[in-house]
C-alpha cells in the first residue's frame, strides 16, 4: 500500500446522509452516482426498446399508435446515447482516472458535482414530454427539420434538455482535461498514462469541439420555431440540408465520443487477462488520436442521399475508408496482445473479447455503408439499424460492462459472482446476435427503419429479433442482481484483485479509502502501464 494511502487511512472520514450525495465533491461518490444514473437510464431506455420490439413482433399495429412508436424510437436513442453510454463513460472516468494517475481527486470537484446533477434535471425535462399535449418528440434523435418543428409542446423541453446535456458533457470534459494535464503524479508522463486515460483525454477534446456544435444546431431550431428565423426553412431562404451538415459534424465525432472510452477499457482488460503488456502502446495512442482527428472529416457519409456533388461524395467516401486504418491497428494490437498470452477467461475478459469480435462486425457493415454507391441501397433501412446497434451494444455497452466487472471488486472490496457473470455474458451475447444480426437481412430486403408496421415478408426475422430483444433485456436483470449482490457482500477482494493487473489503482486497498493519494505516489517505468 502506498505511503499516500496509509497517511490518510486513519482519518478516512466521509460525510453521511443525503448531503454526502447531493453536495459531494468526491470523485468516487460522483462516479458512483453517474454509474447508478446510467444503469437506471439503461432500464428506462431498454423498456422503450421492449415496446419497439413488441410492436414489431408481427406486422400490423398491435400495442401502440404510430405516433407513440416514433416517440419510442426517438427517446430510446436520446436516452441510450446521452443517458446511458455517455454518463457511464464519465462515471468510470470519475472513479478511475484520479486513481490511475495518482491524483487525490478530480481537478475541479465542485464543477464535477454540478456536471452530474445537471443530468437528472435534463432527463426529467425530456421524459416529462410524454405527458405533454402532442406527446414526446417523435421526429427521430437526429432532430431533422422541418419534421422536428412539428413537435408539440414538447419542443422547447427537448431543446433545453439537449442544451443541459451538452453543458454537463462539456463541464465533465473540461474537468477530465484539467485533471490529466495538471494533477498527474510525479513520473506519470503522458506516454506512461494507462490507455483508458488516453482515450478519455482524446474523448474530452472531441466533446469540447463538438457538443457546442450540437448546441448551436438546436439553438437555431429553437429560433426557427419561435423567433421567426429561417436558418433551416427553405421558405425563408434557409436550407434544411444545412441542418444535417451541422448535426453530423457533431454526430460523427459523437460516435467516437461513445466508443473511445470503451476501447480504453478493453485496452486495460485484455493485457490483464492475457498477462502481457499491451501490444503497441504508442501505436494505440496514435491510432486513437488519428480516429478522433479523422472523425471531423467524414460527417457527410450519413447523408450521401441528399444530392451532394460527386466530388463531395468521393471525398467523404475515401475519408470514411481511411478511418478503417487506425481502427484496424487497434483490433490488430488487441489480438496481438492476446497472442501467446497466458489467457484466462473471467467475465471482464469475455466481454472484452466480445467487443473485439462484435464491434468488428459493426465496423465492417460501417465500411459497406461508407461506399457511396451501395449506401443508396442501405440508406434508411434496417441495415443501418443493425450496423449502429452492433457498434453501440456489443461494441460499446459490452466494453462498459467489461469495465464494471473489471473494477467492481476494487470499488466494493468484494468479488462478484463469477458464475452469474459468465451466465450474463453468454445470455447477452447469444441474444444480442439474435436481436441485431437478422436486421442486416431485413435491411437488405428493403425494410425501412422507424416504422411501426411492415410488409408480411419481413415477419420471421422480426420475430427472431424480438425474441432476442426480450432475452437480452431480461439478461440485464442478472447484471443488476449481480451488482447489488456484490455491493452487499461476497468473497473479499485483495488489493491487486486480478493476477495480471498493473497500475496505480491496483496498489490501493479494495475498496479504496475515501481520500486517496493525498501525497502523490512516485511513478517509475516499472510501475507504469506501458
Amino acid at each position: 500500500m502506498s505511503e499516500a494511502v496509509s497517511h490518510h487511512d486513519h482519518h478516512d472520514h466521509k460525510p453521511s446522509g443525503m448531503g454526502r450525495w447531493l453536495f459531494s465533491t468526491n470523485h468516487k461518490d460522483i462516479g458512483t452516482m453517474y454509474l447508478i444514473f446510467a444503469l437506471t437510464m439503461l432500464f428506462i431506455g431498454g423498456a422503450m426498446a421492449m415496446v419497439i420490439r413488441a410492436e414489431l413482433f408481427q406486422p400490423g399495429l398491435q400495442f401502440v399508435t404510430p405516433q407513440f412508436f416514433n416517440s419510442m424510437t426517438t427517446v430510446h436513442a436520446l436516452v441510450m446515447i446521452f443517458g446511458v453510454v455517455m454518463p457511464a463513460g464519465v462515471g468510470l472516468a470519475n472513479w478511475m482516472i484520479p486513481m490511475m494517475i495518482g491524483a487525490p481527486d478530480m481537478a475541479l470537484p465542485r464543477m464535477n458535482n454540478m456536471s452530474f446533477w445537471i443530468l437528472p434535471f435534463a432527463f426529467t425535462l425530456l421524459l416529462s414530454t410524454f405527458f405533454m399535449p402532442g406527446g414526446a418528440p417523435a421526429g427521430g434523435w437526429t432532430l431533422y427539420p422541418p419534421l422536428v418543428l412539428q413537435t408539440g409542446a414538447a419542443f422547447p423541453f427537448l431543446i433545453f434538455a439537449i442544451h443541459f446535456l451538452g453543458i454537463s458533457s462539456i463541464l465533465g470534459a473540461i474537468n477530465i482535461i484539467a485533471t490529466v494535464f495538471n494533477m498527474r503524479a510525479p513520473g506519470m508522463t503522458f506516454m506512461r498514462l494507462p490507455l483508458f486515460v488516453w482515450t478519455w483525454i482524446i474523448t474530452a477534446f472531441l466533446l469540447i469541439a463538438t457538443m457546442p456544435v450540437l448546441a448551436g444546431a438546436v439553438t437555431m431550431l429553437l429560433t426557427d420555431k419561435f423567433f421567426g428565423t429561417s436558418f433551416f426553412s427553405a421558405a425563408g431562404g434557409g436550407d434544411p440540408v444545412m441542418f444535417q451538415h451541422v448535426f453530423w459534424f457533431f454526430g460523427h465525432p459523437e460516435v467516437y465520443i461513445l466508443v473511445l472510452p470503451a476501447f480504453g477499457i478493453i485496452s486495460q482488460v485484455i493485457p490483464t487477462f492475457s498477462r502481457k503488456p499491451l501490444f503497441g502502446y504508442e501505436s494505440m495512442v496514435y491510432a486513437t488520436a488519428s480516429i478522433a482527428f479523422l472523425s471531423f472529416f467524414v460527417w457527410a457519409h450519413h447523408m450521401f442521399t441528399v444530392g451532394m456533388p460527386l466530388t463531395g461524395e468521393l471525398f467523404f467516401m475515401y475519408a470514411t475508408m481511411s478511418i478503417a486504418v487506425p481502427t484496424g491497428v487497434k483490433i490488430f494490437n488487441w489480438t496481438a496482445t492476446m497472442w501467446k498470452g497466458a489467457m484466462s477467461f473471467e467475465t471482464p475478459m469475455l466481454f472484452a473479447i466480445g467487443v473485439v469480435i462484435m464491434f468488428s462486425i459493426g465496423g465492417f457493415s460501417g465500411l459497406m455503408m461508407g461506399i457511396t454507391p451501395v449506401d443508396f441501397q442501405y440508406h434508411d433501412t434496417y441495415f443501418i439499424v443493425a450496423h449502429f446497434h452492433y457498434v453501440i451494444v456489443p461494441g460499446i455497452l459490452f466494453g462498459l460492462i467489461a469495465g464494471v466487472y473489471f473494477w467492481l471488486p476494487k470499488w466494493t472490496g468484494h468479488m462478484y459472482d463469477e458464475k452469474l457473470g459468465k451466465l450474463h455474458f453468454w445470455l447477452s451475447t447469444i441474444s444480442v446476435n439474435m436481436l441485431f444480426f437478422p436486421m442486416h437481412f431485413l435491411g437488405l430486403a428493403g425494410m425501412p427503419r422507424r416504422i411501426p408496421d411492415y410488409n408480411v415478408q419481413f415477419t420471421e426475422w422480426n420475430m427472431v429479433a424480438s425474441i432476442g430483444g426480450f432475452v437480452f433485456g431480461l439478461s440485464q436483470l442478472i447484471f443488476l442482481y449481480l451488482i447489488i449482490k456484490c455491493v452487499r457482500g461476497g468473497e473479499k477482494a485483495n488489493d491487486q484483485v486480478w493476477e495480471g493487473a498493473h497500475g496505480l489503482e491496483w496498489t490501493l486497498p479494495s475498496p479504496p479509502p475515501y481520500h486517496t493519494f493525498t501525497t502523490p505516489p512516485k511513478v517509475t517505468e516499472a510501475t507504469a502501464h506501458s
Binding site: P104, D105, L108, A178, I208, A215, H515
Partner: protein, 42 residues
Amino acid sequence: MVHEHKETPAVTPEVAAKNRRLAIILALIAAAFYAGFILLNM
C-alpha cells in the same frame, strides 16, 4: 458536515489556479465554437 471536508488536500493553490485557468480557456473555446457555428449559418 460536508463543507468541513477538504476533498483535494494535496492540491496547492498554484495547481488550483492552473486548473481554473485551463477550465476557463476550454470553456471559452467551447463558447466560441457555439457562437461560431451559429454565425456561420447566418
